[in-house]
Subunit: 153 residues, 2 copies
Amino acid sequence: MTRTVPPAPTSPRAVSAPTPVQLMDQLAQAAAGYYRNFAVVAAKRGLTLMQGKMLSLLRQPMSMRTLADLLACDASNVTGIVDRLEAHELVRREADPADRRIKMVMLTEEGERTVRLIRAELMSMLSGLEELGEDERRTFQHLLSQVFPAITS
Amino acid sequence: MTRTVPPAPTSPRAVSAPTPVQLMDQLAQAAAGYYRNFAVVAAKRGLTLMQGKMLSLLRQPMSMRTLADLLACDASNVTGIVDRLEAHELVRREADPADRRIKMVMLTEEGERTVRLIRAELMSMLSGLEELGEDERRTFQHLLSQVFPAITS
DNA sequence: TATTGTTATACTCTATAACTATA
DNA sequence: TATAGTTATAGAGTATAACAATA
């Protein structure tokens, strides 16, 4: 299963290295491809991209405020998105007893089920990931975190 | 400038490899980060993400139909987006003499200038790319194309 | 008949501003 | 005063369906 790492497509110096600009364009395509996949998977369950993203974030209950921060959008948007997910019965709001201003959002059982399905299907659309060996995954992570430092998390 | 490739963050087997699922999550973060950068850069010129994307696609004149295909959206959306770019005088429509159904969209001079600025600024936000050596860029490209086969282009 | 582009419609996402209820 | 969440509003992206012009 853990294959030895193939150093490059063919032989190391057989192909000329992509320029940083070319690599930027390929990152753009990769990002677009990722979201296209995500949108398709979400749509199969009648959800939009944002609804699917929010659902995927809710591994633990969290406040509307936290959701706004994680989605990098204004707090006023979260109200509508949660409203629509609630209409689908995938999510519910619960008042925080400690601070009555705060509403915690959490997945319903159907929400949990839906998230699992979405993640599994997305993974199958990124099946190339499964075929990477350990060293390749390590290298990929390293390169991603170098280009997008915030990922370092 | 072309450094020898550092095989891994510290030493090859010092850190455990990310699982495919973890890597999927990091791809999600990378894609989100990419578009967040893009949106910020576009906003500095009074453009939305989609408007910036369309502008970046217009390296050569192309029909509305082609734009719809490349943006992976319905043709009816392209009308509005081009309308708004035209209002900014970044783009213009020109009838195709060979097939009068077709309208070719092309950048104005200000459009060209804006695209160059956007690309340069985006590149500076992805400055990690510039710091990759040749072998790393090759490896990154290879890994990207394995995970997103369409990129192979 | 098929294709290109537009319009009309409805829904979602988006930010801003004003509001409430809490703290 | 400051924060959490909501509402109202306006603009932008989205798909569907119907349409005109052209092929």
